[in-house]
Amino acid sequence: MPLYRLLYRSDVHLVGTEAGIRQQIAEIVHASEIRNASDDLTGALLHTRGVFIQALEGPLPAIETTFERICCDLRHRRVELLEFVQAEERVFGEWSMAGIRADRTIQKLFPQLDAREEPFLEPASAQATIGLMRALLLAGSREGASPRVSAAPAS
């Protein structure tokens, strides 16, 4: 079955204190970890400055069902698809869903957080974002889990 990858951004629409929101996001990541594992999906969810960027990869039907569920979720707003392509291989093969928290220096690396006029990124930019997300994961920015040392896909 062909492999697809999807990247979207959205505004976080959660209510609570900073710690409370972080807790809610951790729960979202945990719930999708479980669900994705059974749907053969992998991916990562980055949140920073009130924005989510999520990558999702796997077979088309599972991607479509999961993305529809994401689009029915009122815990975020202004969902915009940044990339939806057929992919050669998984970028986030090790994680059914990895939460990434970006610190202030890393935030600067994500220009599309503000680029609201261009919903569809240039392919190169989406690639760069995905690459950056993976690099962050490998560098130990994974939230709620100890960083992995090895970069080998856990297949």
Partner: protein
Amino acid sequence: MIQLYTCVAHQHDLRLVAVAAIICALGTYSTFAMGRQVLRDGPVTERLAWAITGVGATSTAIWATHFIAMLAYEPSMAFGFAIGQTVASLLVAIVLVGLGAGIVLARRSLAGRVIGGGVIGLAISAMHYTGMNAYYVQGTLNWDGLTVAVSVAVGVGLGSLSMVLGFSADRRLRRLAPLSLLGAVCGMHFLGMSAVTIAFDPQVEIPGGSLDATILSILTANAAFLIVGSSLAALRLWHASRRRNEAENQRLRNLADIAVEGLMICDGDIVTGINHSLERVIGLPREALIGAPLQSILPGLSTAEIPTEQEADAVLQDGARTGIPVRVIARRTTIKAKPHIVVAVRDQRERLRAEAEMHRLAHHDALTGLANRHQFNQTLAARLSSRRGEDGTFALLLLDLDRFKLVNDTLGHAMGDALLRRVAHRLQRALSEDDLVARLGGDEFAVIKGGGTDLPGLQALAERVNDILARPFLIDGHILNVGTSIGIALAPSDGCTPNLLMGNADLALYGAKEDGRGRYRMFEASMNARIQARRSLELDLRRAIARQEFALYYQPQVDARTGTYDGAEALIRWRHPERGLVSPADFIPLAEETGLIGILGEWVLRTACTEALAWPEHLTVAVNLSPVQFRDARLAATIRNILAETGFPAARLELEITEGSLLQDEQRTLSILRELRALGIRISMDDFGTGYSSLSYLSRFPFDKIKIDQSFVRRTPHDKDSAAIVRAIAMLGASLGMKTTAEGVETDVQSNFIAGQGCDQLQGYLISRPVPADAIADLFAASVPRRATA
């Protein structure tokens, strides 16, 4: 024992003993056969009749056994019987057997059986010794008291035993009961006989009037056989009829069981019968239901309350104590001479399910499962007519998907349907359960929002709906972006009738679409006037096409160097019967929005091609195409047909397009343009320089001509920037091999400057205003001889 053996073997005629034994055996058999009938369920009278018959048969048999056995006794001397005492002995037997049987039947316990059986045993002894009193013999009877006592004890003991055995739970033991009773009768008799010795005494006289032994024996034997035999025959007949009855009952039960309806037979309020159907509905076996009160099945009902004329609704309680909706009706009937009530129970679940399903189908949209227009109208009317403030105050939201038609047209109806289902689902997610969401048809949805009309809440809701439907839909690998526009009207302030409220919500929706789609608008009173004016213009526009109120004007284009005519641009004019001449700027956007541009554009093309045929053959006609026309995939084919119809050469037609045509769907537009180009038609880029990235388009399609927008031309040559732009465009055109035309040339200074920059063509008031078709034809005709003579 030896005494007994001697008595039977030597003092009796064994043949008669056998007869006595047979009668006795038949008698004791009938005792138990009939006793069983008495113990069976049945009418009391019937049971009583069997009890009397049984007592009669038993006592007769005992009595007959005794007398036949007495006849078998051979005392070797003359003997006879006293009539009175013989009869008395029979009565003693009947009375005591009846008493014994009564005790057995009245006291259904072991003690009752032992005592009752004992009394029957006693009856045998009493009968025997009374009978012996009637026995006259020519001698004296000497009794051995001990043997007499033993004989009575044997009779009583075996009598008790027979009754105990007769009621035993073990079938084999029950079979021994008649034998035990037979033993009691025979044992008692022969022991009794062995207790007596007769001493011949010739002085004893047999009293006169005694019966002759032989006659008595024949009479007794016959009578006994008759009574016992007819009793047994009656029993047989009764058994047969009972079997018939049972077969009949079984047949009725079978009939009742194959009935679809549940049937229940009640004796008063006690259930005495139930059919399979009802067993299934209740989910309990028949055995668990029979004998139960009716109220355990139909709580709160008694048979007297169940109507006999018309079915009544009731609730049946099943085995799991769940209420099942049923209808019941009762019929009075007589079963075994007793009045009973038959209750027919009809399960209503299937019918109610079917009704609910029909109701659902009638009130819901089959595709999305949302409420349909019918249900929506009902709810809307109900809410508006509600007298309570809470219900009568609400918001009505009308939704229309912004790009649904495009999805349906390009990806097919199946995709459109899948999209609508997802839209419906997302709508439900964005709304609360109190809100009624309906699909009114196509891509139109409506929401009746419950819970008042507070503005912030309403705005939050509208924003939520706008947001959730603006998110992409991924279906079968396609990314669909549809979005929705929402119009909101408040009840009752914006309308207190369904029509008015719907109309105003629709106006608000119209406003939202005008604002640029993907938005919501609340109804405002001012919308009405403005939109009404628009509506009336739209109506007029539709009529104008039919009434041919349109005309084409032509503005000539000249060669910038020689000043000779190259052709003219066709421009549409609307001569409104009341408004006069209406500007294209006022009605073209409306025609584009309403889709009327398709028909209008076709009319312009056909008219221009027809009218330009009258011009000299080297002159071209330029026609403008709206971006909206490019949405029609048949555009190229339509134009080819018009050329074929009118006979106008493709090489003399110029089509002017704006950047807008390329903005919406570049690939589609470019492919249509290539097709047109292949026909020989020339393509011009109109209003060049005003768009965002005009330059980039020049590299994507080899236009024949660039028309410099009149805003630059008018400012030349005094405005340096405009002059520079005009110069740059002229140079660009020259280098790309495209002609350049300057529009809006009004003065000689402009004309000279522009011609000096290398522009190829001029168009504007300096040359001519747009003129009607006959005027331009005259103008061109006049120029030809001049050109010919030049």
